[in-house]
């Protein structure tokens, strides 16, 4: 394959290069701004979550990255972990777990998701599980620690 080299006059080439540089800078700045906004959102979500956790839940979260809540209707234990999918484990006395998947609509940072899950399970457990998707009971080692 053969490429022809097109020679542009200097008065066309320089402005073109300049415009390409400007465009590249704008794209990079936009990317940096977006990443910074995402980071801020994550930090805000985690701060809100920590503010609403009980002292015991906060200690557990800071140590392991997850925390446990008691279902408001059944008193069952649930472990809420820091992922967006299947991050709620129902625990029983034999160490078996059942994964549950539910969360608030929209693109929320993980701290917000975990807080909404905590509030829902502690205050409206049955209605929450009624809309959640349930995984199979599992005897594998517990996740998140």
């Amino acid at each position: 394959m053969r490429f022809d080299v097109i020679e542009l006059p200097l008065w066309v080439g320089l402005p073109t290069v300049f415009l390409l540089c400007l465009l590249t800078c704008a794209l990079v700045l936009d990317h940096v701004r977006e990443a910074s906004g995402r980071r801020t959102a994550i930090e805000k979500g985690v701060a809100l979550l920590k503010h609403w956790l009980s002292p015991a839940q906060l200690a557990q979260y800071q140590k392991y990255g997850y925390f446990e809540v008691r279902g408001g209707d059944s008193g069952k234990r649930y472990r809420i972990g820091p992922t967006h999918q299947m991050n709620v484990d129902e625990l029983n006395e034999q160490g078996m777990r059942t994964a549950w998947c539910f969360g608030p609509e929209g693109e929320l940072p993980i701290g917000d998701v975990m807080l909404a899950q905590k509030i829902a399970l502690e205050n409206d457990e049955q209605a929450t599980l009624a809309l959640a998707n349930r995984g199979n009971p599992d005897q594998r080692p517990l996740r998140f620690g």
Binding site: G37, T40, A41, I42, E43, K44, G45, A47, L48, H51, W52, L53, S54, P55, A56, Q57, L58, H84, Q85, M86, C101, F102, G103, P104, E105, G106, E107, L108, P109, G111, D112, L115, A116, I119, A120, E122, N123, D124, T128, L131, A132, N133
Partner: protein
Amino acid sequence: MAKQIVMDATGDTRHEFDPADAAAVSNALARFKALTAAGFTAAVRRDAGTSELIREFDPSADETVFFPRLRGG
């Protein structure tokens, strides 16, 4: 100052109001109604990490958080 905290993609948006200011309380009530009508759940923070879901606006609550409708994942 009382706070209404609305979860969103930026983390949250906060609205503070003075419970002694009738106009501010009226605005907060309108916000509460608009958000719950849009499917948000409202919960007030009690002490020691406990919370309570509310269906009616509570002007005496220090902190009310609103999260979008839950759905199965």
